[in-house]
Symmetry: D2
Subunit: 128 residues, 4 copies
DNA sequence: TTTT
DNA sequence: TTTT
């Protein structure tokens, strides 16, 4: 069946990179996705959406983006279940990103710019 | 910012229809979205995703679909926060459906078939 | 960059299956995607969208769906250029399907039903 | 039926703004959407996709974006037919944008920045 | 050249 | 007819 999620938003913090026992990289972060309209107090509302990324893209996220970065996510919705420390079963809904596009302008002379010059020209390998 | 979710799946139960104090219709249901592959035990895995629908579409859902119905959802991801009875703050992630398409074949002579004939020809008003 | 198209519609004809010189299967068909509202004459309008499918999914399409079948497509937009017989350069915009979901109910006792029983349980291999 | 297209890319030229006889604004432009990989010659390939925008969003496009601007489009695929000057019927496939998000960083002190300060805080009214 |  |  079909399950597709597309988001554009900003990281609320730097991504957290971990490795599974078998050595696969996993990055997690939460994405602030602004809604279209401000609320009554004039504050802009946002949805804070948990995102998981796997493998090489996880490492790219850890290396190239951080708190405040603007990204586009293309992935799917996943619902996991886990048992809290209080013994209660809980549900987590998160987006598994199949693709993460980095949308920030790279500053002239930034690390990203430099790195961009040394690596193959591909959105999959390096962000740009 | 962009926030879009597209799902195809089946209702795990009949939709629940409620009204807000101001009279707006809201339907909720959970959608079973099968993943592509079966797990080690040969069982098919699925994600169970909470869906909310508003206004006339909510009433259409309550009237025309039920447990087991196949639907396509086009909407956005929303994260709400609420306080549990234990005083703990919890988060709910759900899909707010902007469009619900009914994908089941209507049986010849079913209520749906009949109704289809009496109402204007529009996916927005009646499902088909 | 991001490029994603999601469609639900019906085939206007049986898919055409071909093979590239190197032996890769390609299926093409056009999808009638109904718009939401009827026009002034009360006729339902539709967009007729060219779709291309590659490899095993191409062969699945040729085997399992035909004129009138209801499918969901998840893919990307592609613009190709070619030279007409009049020497004029022309553009074709088509959807390259990465996933084709078959949404029709299989009739009891149909080939599809039988096949469903003999093959591994996966949306990627057999439609269901 | 479902018909959804989501794109991120750059304008190849400034948008063209026109008005229908009844006074509705329409903007058109073509979006260069880079594919993921470079071709054999090491050049980056792209799809050049025609986009149409209506009403206030059309005027926003004409006012705030131009050649080279990075945007995200959320809309639907449309196939139109027209008769060429040679009397031949032709087909055009284009994306009707329901939402256009402006993704470029506004330069400090730019018109966009200034305007941003004077207008209501909403992605629908002003880009940011 | 179009589907239910 | 194409963008960075």
């Amino acid at each position: 069946m079909l399950n597709r999620v597309i988001l554009i938003g900003r990281l609320t913090k730097d991504p957290e990179l971990r490795y599974t026992p078998s050595g696969t990289a996993v990055a997690t972060f939460t994405l602030a996705v602004n809604r279209n309209r401000a609320n009554q107090e004039g504050e802009r509302e946002a949805d804070f959406i948990p995102v998981v990324v796997w493998q090489k893209q996880a490492e790219n996220c850890a290396n190239y983006i951080g708190k405040g970065s603007l990204v586009a996510i293309d992935g799917r919705l996943q619902v996991r279940t886990y048992d809290g420390k209080d013994g209660q079963r809980r549900w987590v809904t998160e987006v598994v990103a199949e693709n993460v596009r980095f949308l920030d302008k790279r500053e002239k002379g930034s690390t990203l710019e430099q790195i961009g010059k040394e690596v193959p020209f591909s959105d999959d390998d390096i962000p740009f």
